[in-house]
Symmetry: none
Subunit: 223 residues, 4 copies
Amino acid sequence: MSLQDGGTPEPHDDGPRPVGCGGPGPEAGPARRGRPRSEAAEQAIFDAAIALLEGGTPLAELSIEKLARTAGVGKATIYRRWPGKEELFVDLLRSVELPDPVLPGTSARDDLVTLLESIRQRGLAKRTSALLHNVFSQMQLYPKLWNTYHHTVIEPRRRLGLDAVRRGMERGEIRDDLDVELVNDLFTGPLLLRTVIRPGGTLEPGLAERIVDTVLEGLRPRT
Amino acid sequence: MSLQDGGTPEPHDDGPRPVGCGGPGPEAGPARRGRPRSEAAEQAIFDAAIALLEGGTPLAELSIEKLARTAGVGKATIYRRWPGKEELFVDLLRSVELPDPVLPGTSARDDLVTLLESIRQRGLAKRTSALLHNVFSQMQLYPKLWNTYHHTVIEPRRRLGLDAVRRGMERGEIRDDLDVELVNDLFTGPLLLRTVIRPGGTLEPGLAERIVDTVLEGLRPRT
Amino acid sequence: MSLQDGGTPEPHDDGPRPVGCGGPGPEAGPARRGRPRSEAAEQAIFDAAIALLEGGTPLAELSIEKLARTAGVGKATIYRRWPGKEELFVDLLRSVELPDPVLPGTSARDDLVTLLESIRQRGLAKRTSALLHNVFSQMQLYPKLWNTYHHTVIEPRRRLGLDAVRRGMERGEIRDDLDVELVNDLFTGPLLLRTVIRPGGTLEPGLAERIVDTVLEGLRPRT
Amino acid sequence: MSLQDGGTPEPHDDGPRPVGCGGPGPEAGPARRGRPRSEAAEQAIFDAAIALLEGGTPLAELSIEKLARTAGVGKATIYRRWPGKEELFVDLLRSVELPDPVLPGTSARDDLVTLLESIRQRGLAKRTSALLHNVFSQMQLYPKLWNTYHHTVIEPRRRLGLDAVRRGMERGEIRDDLDVELVNDLFTGPLLLRTVIRPGGTLEPGLAERIVDTVLEGLRPRT
DNA sequence: TAATAATCGAGACGGTACGTCGCGTCTTCTG
DNA sequence: CAGAAGACGCGACGTACCGTCTCGATTATTA
């Protein structure tokens, strides 16, 4: 599925239309024929989807039929772009996702705080935006949607965390006798718990710092 | 929703039928008239649901229609018992859920290890049983199903964790200048992360101990 | 296709529903199960079809979708009864067809005049009723519809004509050295020509007598 | 509809293009600009249509879309030439229709036999050619197609028949106290009955003569 | 024992959505 | 310009489920 290409956030297209160049320059393309797809229609579809989701429509009830009607678009125009609902939602989701954070690299603590803060921000955005909250909280229904989201959004950030932990171990900031994967989960687990599993969980400011510091220091009373 | 009554695992019934007794003997009720509901039908419905889910049917495609057909049961027989799919699944889920663990109370570490181990076991059960994994991993689609599961399964265990942490603070095993909720999340977050958010995550034996000990001790290198 | 059973003008049904008894009495049936089909719905479908056709809708544009909408009926209710448009139209057509004429048998001339007069009447009915005219004049599009109509309506009347001609030959009213089929066509051909092939053709009163008498007497001038 | 012009068998064109000359040289017209229409495309369309119809496609299922795909032609290229399916079929039909017969004029009998024989030949051609039979037998669906065919093919031959009958009356070969229209229908009706209404009807050699002679002589036994 | 009443499997009911196909129009690029 | 290619909004196709509603038949309690 081209949705997992990870790099290009371009809309999906596995139809009969020649997928284009792949070459280095725009002059290399075989000049795809026929009327090009309307960007306006594409935007109308996205807009309608967001409007419906913000209007309270649950993801499970967002039918292609209603979507086309709201967008003033033919159903075929949607099916021409995405094979089904799931792929459409992946694009929709990616179009509003925050970009990967840039880690300062000054220390393991700073990196981890930055990373967790970006997760918190995303969680807050989800909370304020009915759209994202709805989509994300119900996303596990759709395996393809979930997998794609996992590969393109979750996994890259997980790697950021793993790298930060590894660097911290090399610098002596973190014990190096521990499993890197486990250590990473100790940081991200609590935050994701509040964001995804317990959607009502509080994501107050400073939470990222508190988690990082508490995990780093441990819970034992200091004598 | 009567599904949140928490205590009685009896099937839902908000129909015209007098709700009956709940008492120990048949003489306590107003003696409901007419043909009693068939337990065989009920079991056939559960069996069919489990068979279909284990057969690979995604939860989203498990229609009432197909369920009734597979179970050899009339659709009305299903709707007479549950208002919809979600409520049926709640009952189905509860019927295979493990009971709450009993904490030894000997120390905060022991309590938390016991609690996390029970979560791990449930995760393993989900992994071996295609049924539960399917239901749980896709459950967030159905808000009611999710809420009910949250209230009846997740929340009680969260309270167990909170109590264990609080007791640990009182006993001086855990720093008491920390937020109890946060501390609890530090323990359960990593495990739920692997169970729910990252379903491929490893749940190897000893994971509970490792999480608890690492979080308790912190990540700072010991001099 | 049960539409060619010729005898019973009952609606078509080749679905999963057990077709019933076939036995001699109504008590022999295996007591078909489930909710019986609604006669009201059936009538509503017919009414809507007639209303639409009389309202000027060409047969080719009479979609099942519009029909269901007009009748206030689900599409499945239509497809449950007829496999497609053609079979529905056969029933519709038969429901307004005139019954076979009864031939007096007094003479070949009387029989043939009666037969042709009934064809003329049907043609006139078609002309006044936009419904029948539309259906019939465009019917040849649908091979199944045409075949069924041919077998159940046209062919029986053709046999009536053949019998009348044969009796006339036996009685000495008609030369018996001629092909019966050809003779019959000499009578019915002109009338059907005006009715079907040249729909604007005149079907004035007395036409049946004139055709029969002219064909019987021949065109040669009497000396 | 320009399709009823009767004379020129040129393809329909009511578009913006100046209709051109018909003259022998390019200097006679207003010098139409731009690329001229491709005759190859036109032929490809006809060929594709005939191939599909002979391949068994019913007229009702011969979509413009499939036609263009089969012909390797853009849909616009078809719509540029004909307003719709019907007009295309008229041209298609005319391109394979036999020319009007030339009546010998020696006697009413000879004229009528010649005329009926040409109808019989057309019927036979239809029977051997799956194309024409399909088109003609299903043509009544399309009112415009039917009307055009009627005006350009049927009506001229009807006039031929009427003239022949009239001449026969003037010559004393046919009783002149009869309605000319009726007499004509007596001849053509039986043959068209077998050709169109009862497509399985036999069109054996000598049928034309037998019909004409029988109608002329009448059915009364000669004493 | 007979009447009553709620259940059973079965399936029809009016709807909504599915994903596909064809309509006739349009918009792009190539000849 | 006309050519092919194909996207556009639209609407019908035939199927699947939704949740509700009759059916005849079954199985209890109550009279």
